[in-house]
Symmetry: C2
Subunit: 341 residues, 2 copies
């Protein structure tokens, strides 16, 4: 037998030697197999304590029959964004009760970063992957699926790849939000949102358009802005908007940080009580400003639950076709959306 190095971590072999039994018995004790003599269990446990032995989980999964690492990976837009971190936390809670750990990565909408992170996670042999995808052809995942790795997409569906997907009712909810403004007499309604290549932005803009069309309101491109790279861009667009003779009487903002910038611009122009505002996504201070901000909120907890259940079911062997789940949103009126035209 090898000499016990005092620097390195003790291994299962050293525990077996100290407790005068075999490594297999130690393995049984570690894994809580009930058929071990209680006396041996005691001996092994005291040896573990004495040596401060910590089983090596990565070594264990190497030979394990299903090769599971009890880890899932989650790819987010940006963990520092409240939507992402709330999603992450929801998954953390759901995974923990299954004894599963979560590893995460932020992609910042960069496709090459998505590919890179997926490669990293596969190299770590995660059991499954939850993905808020970037705008990219996901065909490259097809070969990956052959190895049995389950994927669940959340917030946006994949492109050119079929997999379980959980999204909010983006189009329908955006339409309802816009109709809400129309019901308050608005006809000149501005739209600000992200690049239309992004699924959620495209859907929400679609809902906005549907509402206007249904109400017989012509779409005016001067009121519409896609692509919100940075705050300055939003400030520039809104200041031009507010300067128009026939400026809009209401604004629909299709994303949380866009709403924040729009609000900032409205307050600077002292128009926050004049121009109506409805936003998509939650803001934790929505009720703290005056007027409060009327918002369409995604049910993040529900989305995470549905996605997690799907993933766990796939891990448990569920073989049915990929499912698409649309989760209802929550609409909360707080004042900004109820300003009349």
């Amino acid at each position: 037998m090898k000499s016990t190095s005092s620097r390195a971590r003790p291994t299962i072999r050293e525990v077996a030697a100290l407790s005068d039994t075999s490594i297999k018995t130690v393995s049984r004790v570690i894994n809580g197999v009930s058929t071990v003599d209680p006396i041996l269990v005691k001996r092994v446990e005291s040896a573990i304590k004495k040596l401060n032995y910590r089983p090596n989980a990565t070594a264990g999964s190497l030979r394990r029959v299903n090769g599971r690492t009890n880890t899932i990976g989650i790819l987010l837009k940006d963990i520092a964004n409240p939507f992402s971190s709330a999603l992450y936390r929801a998954f953390e809670n759901l995974a923990r009760v299954q004894g599963i750990d979560v590893i995460a990565g932020s992609m910042d909408e960069q496709p090459e970063r998505e590919v890179e992170l997926i490669a990293t996670f596969i190299a770590r042999r995660v059991d499954g992957l939850i993905i808020v995808p970037t705008t990219i052809d996901h065909g490259y995942l097809k070969t990956e699926r052959k190895s049995g790795m389950p994927f669940v997409f959340i917030d946006r569906p994949p492109n050119n790849f079929i997999a379980d997907t959980v999204v909010a009712t983006n189009k329908k909810s955006a339409r309802q939000a816009t109709e809400h403004l129309i019901n308050f007499g608005h006809k000149r309604i501005a739209y600000l949102g992200d690049n239309q290549e992004i699924y959620t932005a495209e859907q929400r803009f679609g809902g906005y358009q549907e509402a206007l069309k249904a109400a017989g309101i012509k779409i005016d491109n001067r009121y519409i802005h896609h692509g919100v790279e940075n705050k300055e861009e939003i400030q520039k667009f809104t200041s031009e908007l507010f300067a128009l003779k026939d400026r809009p009487t209401a604004i629909f903002s299709s994303q949380n940080f866009v709403t924040v910038e729009v609000l900032r611009a409205l307050r600077q122009a002292k128009l926050e009580k004049t121009i109506a505002l409805v936003g998509f996504d939650d803001l934790d201070f929505a009720d703290l400003v005056n007027p409060g901000i009327t918002l369409v909120t995604q049910d993040i907890s529900k989305m995470a639950h549905v996605a997690a259940e799907l993933l766990f079911a796939r891990l448990a062997g569920k073989k049915t076709p990929a499912e698409l789940h649309e989760i209802e949103t929550i609409f909360t009126q707080r004042g900004s959306g109820e300003i009349k035209a």
Copy 2:
């Protein structure tokens, strides 16, 4: 040789067979060893592509000479809290450039959860650990250090355990914030903060006390509240506070979510322009309410940088005594803290 199962992932052995070379050469190609014949490199690379081979990182680290997994663990209070997620993101960025992955866990101030998560992370053989500790005796980590695992504590120091620590200048900054209120003529200044067993709360309360003492103001316990389990509790305390005949003319709030609740209470009582307010921690809407909220903000990015550098230095073998770094905060006046008594 074993037969190639079409279901399982290909291994290095199958790549070697297909490229008609040895597994050692494949290993060299994967790891970018330069001494391989370019022709062999080509053959191996095309076999990798053909088989869609993905190296197993966990298997690799098992035999690797330093045993590194290129993973660090980070233990947070709650990843859904903006302070935590900003920290996480900062570490993610810093680790990525070193080719290191980050795994995280939320502890919700529960000591048993801390112990559990540390055990999990050690079982995964993380190379190092960044910890926002709960209130617990960290003596149990002493045995762990013998195995060479570096620990860096952030936001709060460990108890009964010496390790690198990065904190904000909590006491000094709280004192300055309180002095700021005193300079605006306030003598009745309320304090709301977390349980004093929590280091940051205790330090910040200490700074508050120092400022009052230095100004010759007697501390009035009716104005002080420790322990902020839930929102209702804060609402209850503030409503009692506002009902006092000699109610405070200013409030110092020692934590982000406490400030939000205080603000909510002030607005409900229509006192937000009457009672001054200074808060510790950042709020992303500080400039969007009226008056804007005067805040002491921690330099999260700097804290993460310093902590990460410490950790990487320890991983690189730095053996000097444990260091304590105090990072300066940023004070931003926005109106709420400049209301006169």
